[in-house]
Symmetry: C2
Subunit: 340 residues, 2 copies
């Protein structure tokens, strides 16, 4: 059968543009033993993808020009030659494709129970971003009740989980985001103690007013927002480095790090987090806990769903404009085989 898929047409210089993507039609073979033919329902777009579009080694190999773009997707099973799955199952995988259909290794899929929550959440609060925020905060950030926790990109898929998990754990939580709609959501609906709009407020000054210093900073952005937080770090602070979206489009190699002297002053710890370091048991633990909090009404989430597979590049580009509240998704199709 044929499928449409998005391929990397050229590497971006600076900010990515629609020209970096090309929609093509390709022929899919039949699934071999162990493989599954899937039909995408939702596709994720995430800031980390900007790194894969660059021709530079990082924690994963770069994507090659001409190759299909990769993504986390939620899909339904059309045809399965894998013992765990059958037609109509809803599945999720992280390193799949920007494609309407795909033949994939069944071992790369996990089942999604549509009765527990909307299946799209398997790409957000009950998926990679949720698990990242959960373990990044609890394992790397190691907060204690009463700690002041600040999170940047707080209205995003990861940040909104981080702030709520911190609040549930008895921390004072301040979120930083880039729109009044976002800061209002954080304080009025998610229970953040305060929120700062970095586009209209002086972040450093506001942090000075709002906090007695910062014990845990969960950093999704880097750049000037992190500079503003830096001067307010407390003794024995922990900085969780999860994302640096402010610098993903940098065309010049920045100098840095600077201001490490702050870590001598505070004996602070700055540490990176990567979700793939957490194995199936830790994924399971995070997802069970996050799911329970959703059902108890303690954890809320939002999704910003762009409709139509042809709009996937636009959805991705929107991440760098800071327009999405919550998890940015592309709705690719309604289910045909699955009963949702």
């Amino acid at each position: 059968m044929e499928t449409r898929q998005w391929v990397l047409d050229s590497r971006p210089t600076g900010e990515p543009t629609a020209d970096n993507f090309r929609l093509e039609t390709t022929e899919l073979g039949d699934p071999d033993r162990g493989e599954v033919l899937i039909r995408t329902l939702y596709q994720s777009v995430d800031p980390y993808m900007r790194g894969r579009m660059r021709d530079a080694e990082s924690y994963a190999d770069p994507w090659q020009v001409g190759d299909p773009m990769r993504a986390g997707v939620v899909a339904e099973v059309v045809e399965s030659r894998h013992p765990e799955f059958e037609q109509g199952d809803v599945v999720q995988g992280e390193s799949l494709y920007w494609a309407e259909h795909a033949v994939v290794d069944g071992d790369d899929l996990r089942g999604v129970n549509p009765d527990l929550a909307p299946v799209s959440t398997a790409l957000g609060v009950l998926g990679m971003p949720g698990v990242t925020g959960y373990w990044g905060l609890l394992d790397v950030g190691n907060p204690s009740p009463g700690d002041t926790v600040v999170v940047s990109a707080a209205a995003g898929a990861v940040g909104s989980v981080v702030g709520q998990v911190a609040r549930i754990g008895g921390c004072e939580v301040v979120g930083i985001a880039g729109a009044d709609e976002k800061t209002a959501w954080l304080t009025e609906e998610l229970g953040f103690d305060a929120a700062i709009n970095y586009k209209t407020e002086d972040v450093a000054a506001r942090l000075g007013e709002l906090t007695d210093g910062i014990d845990v900073y969960y950093d999704n952005v880097g750049g000037p927002v992190t500079d503003a937080v830096w001067d307010h770090l407390n003794v024995r602070c922990r900085v969780v480095v999860c994302g640096q979206i402010a610098q993903y489009n940098a065309t010049e190699v920045p100098t840095g790090p600077r201001k490490l002297a702050k870590l001598i002053e505070t004996r602070g710890r700055v540490e990176g987090v990567l979700v793939r370091d957490y194995g199936p048991e830790q994924w399971g633990e995070a997802l069970r806990q996050l799911g329970a909090w959703i059902h108890e009404g303690k954890l809320d989430y939002r999704e910003n769903v762009v409709d139509g597979f042809e709009n996937a590049p636009d959805a991705f580009l929107g991440l760098f404009e800071g327009v999405n509240v919550g998890k940015q998704l592309v709705k690719v199709a309604d289910p045909e085989y699955a009963a949702l």
Copy 2:
């Protein structure tokens, strides 16, 4: 009695100059109960003092203009009203004065045994810098045998201890320093596996040739040297932030930190160290071990002794020119009461 002392005459802007110091004569009272009249034999000058000359809070209060400069000193006891000390004892204290004589709280002094090592070492390898390097490496850096350890300002008082302790612990050790005389000392006498002259060599390229990546980076300098190291950090690296001398004279507030994305890639940890976090037991443990290694011939050190109390500012200013090999000291007087 009268004493000469150096006071902070003005705060430096950028690089400190001789004009920032003023030599004055002041009257000392007699020691009260618990106090000791000391006569300085050696005075230390250290990079951290640049921070105290600045009008900014850090981990310690800034010094005030017109106040005497503080320093670690080795001194002999002239008169004691403290039960632990008597005339002729050799003592060491960290937060004493740039002064020929002083009346100080005896609780701020520790006895120095002149039979174990030259008493000047109580300001270097067997003093604050040695303890800093020992615990900074072992506690914060947490090296394992076979790890690649890189240390900047490697020929300095702290760096030379760090590199040798790492070598004794079975690590591969690369030192970075600013003169061929220093790099030769590191490799030929201290047993470093390699050394790089950052003033004449491409540090990043040399690290690429010399190592398979860096597991522990002990940073005494910050700035471009740290930038060069940064790109070679290994997965699960540890960066010990001990000093940032490259930035101590900065007149503009630097942006930063940048390049934290490297910590996502590596899940690396960057953490500050401050020697005052280590209590008397840990000081004792470090000094016993370092002393034993010196006696076994496993640990070597150098001192760069500037003669004459009036030259103390020059000795301090030399720290920023990178001219000293090993611990920078000022010899203030020969002993009059102590038998050395």
